[in-house]
């Protein structure tokens, strides 16, 4: 090894010995030799550079790739602790162990606080090999941990990007699809208006089908756009579900009156979410309970109870219910269980609910029997709410 300072290379022994490149910061050659001898005696195959000042230290650091720095605390022209500044400046992670004469306890603690890995007194050098082994082991674990963290961060990043790409795609696709579709809708409508009764009966029927199809697709695309927008993270705040449900019942007033529905709710907690999105969840669930009713007027009950670290909400109705085999399917976007003529809708509502609840750290599911009403349940974590309550109070 060629570098600044004295070279103290020791030939490797016959048995495989752990190699160690050490950088010694030491003004006393006898002390340096003692350190090296201690390490060799303990089985290390040591290559050591010995330097005394910052310039030589920096050079040795750059060219010698040391695995450990062993620094004297007091030097004639430098201070052992300042090696830490150089190591940091060079962007390196190398353990620095102070090997020093008298070093008071308070001072030693201070040095470790400032970043020294450990310290060994010159009159108890026998500790040094074990200290070095531990420092190297810690460094290895540290770098493995960093590697794992970096890998994880990269995967999280990739996943977030691919999710964002997908949402962007859905958004752009639905937005750009609207444009040509607008032409189809407008011109089939124009045909229907201008030429009704002027062609033959079939023509009127065909134009009608085309026009209806195009208009339905417009609604589908609008809902898809709504669904893809829901994926975007909206600002969250403390949301009083009691207030939200009052608003929702107001919005649904005409549907409630027309169906003669009776909607009751218990006291509902505050959650940490986006108010518009929470309103959307309640509106979709209560709206469904009204829509999928039996002959008798709907009776709908909204409850919330504590369940460990979660709030458990439920929306129960006496409607047509859902066979258990469809319990998962209903949350998939554009999934419908009924003909459009029986119950209108696009199958987007529950998919939106699922997306919102999951984005807020909860789960949503359905418990039902066909013909016996259904209960939709969802959870939302409590902790955030409590925390926000504390912060805000």
């Amino acid at each position: 090894m060629t570098s600044a300072g004295t070279e103290l290379a020791i030939p490797a022994a016959a048995a495989p010995r752990p190699q160690l490149r050490a950088l010694l910061v030491e003004d006393n050659p006898l002390d340096a030799a003692l350190v090296v001898r201690t390490l060799i005696k303990d089985g290390f195959d040591v290559t050591a550079d010995v330097v005394q000042d910052e310039a030589a230290f920096t050079k040795a650091l750059r060219h010698g790739c040391p695995e450990v720095v062993l620094a004297d605390y007091n030097l004639p022209t430098w201070k052992g602790m300042e090696t830490l500044d150089v190591i940091r400046r060079e962007g390196l992670d190398i353990p620095m162990i102070l090997v020093s004469g008298a070093l008071g306890d308070v001072n030693a603690v201070e040095c470790i606080k400032q970043g020294a890995t450990d310290y060994v007194l010159k009159d108890s050098l026998a500790r040094l090999p074990a200290v070095i082994r531990r420092a190297l082991q810690e460094k290895l674990e540290r770098s493995l941990r960093h590697q794992t963290e970096r890998d994880l961060a990269r995967k999280v990043d990739e996943l977030a990007r691919s999710n964002a790409d997908l949402e962007q795609f859905a958004y752009v696709a639905s937005h750009d699809l609207q444009e040509p579709l607008r032409m189809v809708t407008a011109y089939t409508q124009l045909l229907a208006e201008r030429y009704r009764g002027k062609l033959d009966e079939n023509a009127d029927k065909f134009i009608g089908y085309a026009s209806e199809g195009a208009q339905r697709m417009q609604v589908l695309i609008r809902d898809l756009l709504l669904f893809s927008r829901m994926g975007r993270t909206e600002a969250r705040e403390r949301v009083e579900c009691d207030a939200v449900i009052k608003e929702v019942l107001q919005t649904l007033r005409s549907a409630i009156e027309q169906s003669g529905a009776v909607v009751t709710h218990s006291a509902l907690p505050a959650v940490w979410a986006n108010p518009t999105q929470m309103a959307q969840v309640f509106q979709n669930l209560i709206g469904n309970a009204i829509k999928f009713r039996q002959e008798e007027p709907p009776v709908i009950s909204v409850q919330a109870e504590e369940a460990g670290q979660q709030w458990l909400f439920s929306v129960r109705d006496n409607g047509i219910g859902i066979a258990p085999e469809y319990a998962q399917q209903i949350f998939v976007v554009f999934q419908r269980l009924h003909a459009r003529t029986e119950y209108p809708g696009n199958g987007v509502g529950l998919a939106i609910c699922k997306k919102i609840i999951e984005r807020n750290g909860g789960k949503i599911w359905m418990e039902s029997q066909a013909g016996a009403g259904s209960t939709f349940k969802f959870t939302l974590p409590k902790s955030d709410t409590e925390e926000s309550t504390r912060i805000r109070s």
Partner: protein, 145 residues
């Protein structure tokens, strides 16, 4: 004195231009409608360049944003930067409902922003309302002043 107003529709979609014509066909204003299909053509028309030496000066411009060559915002910016053209009211008529498009249009001096309705009936009534507002209700500077 002019008998009918001149409306310039800047839109690359002939189907949309045709819908505007259909919408205004029965209107009492009997506006004359001229259309151009991209931003470069639009500016040539407005500046009476090349084949548009004898082009009329429109009383109202309906401008789409998504145009070939030079987009609607570039046309708008050029018009509003010109002392001569800036007095002509420009109605942005686009499918975009993005707030950045709307904000940018007003920043550049658009006189109003209307998004194209998807439904034929609404489309017709919107176009008629635009014509009615700008050519009946709004007071505009006299030509040549």
């Amino acid at each position: 004195m002019k008998t009918a107003a001149d409306l310039l529709v800047i839109d690359d979609n002939p189907a949309d231009v045709s819908l505007v014509r259909e919408a205004l066909a029965g209107s009492k204003h009997r506006s004359r409608i001229t259309s151009v299909g991209d931003g470069v053509e639009a500016l040539a028309f407005l500046y009476h360049r090349d084949k548009y030496v004898d082009a009329i000066r429109p009383d109202l411009v309906m401008l789409d944003l998504n145009l070939p060559k030079r987009d609607g915002l570039a046309v708008l910016a050029a018009m509003k930067a010109s002392p001569d053209l800036r007095r002509i009211p420009v109605v942005i008529f686009s499918t975009s409902q993005l707030s950045k498009d709307i904000t940018r249009s007003y920043e550049l001096g658009a006189n109003c922003y209307v998004s194209k309705p998807g439904n034929l009936t609404e489309f017709f009534s919107t176009v008629l309302s635009i014509e009615e507002f700008w050519l009946s209700f709004a007071c505009l500077p006299a030509q040549g002043e």
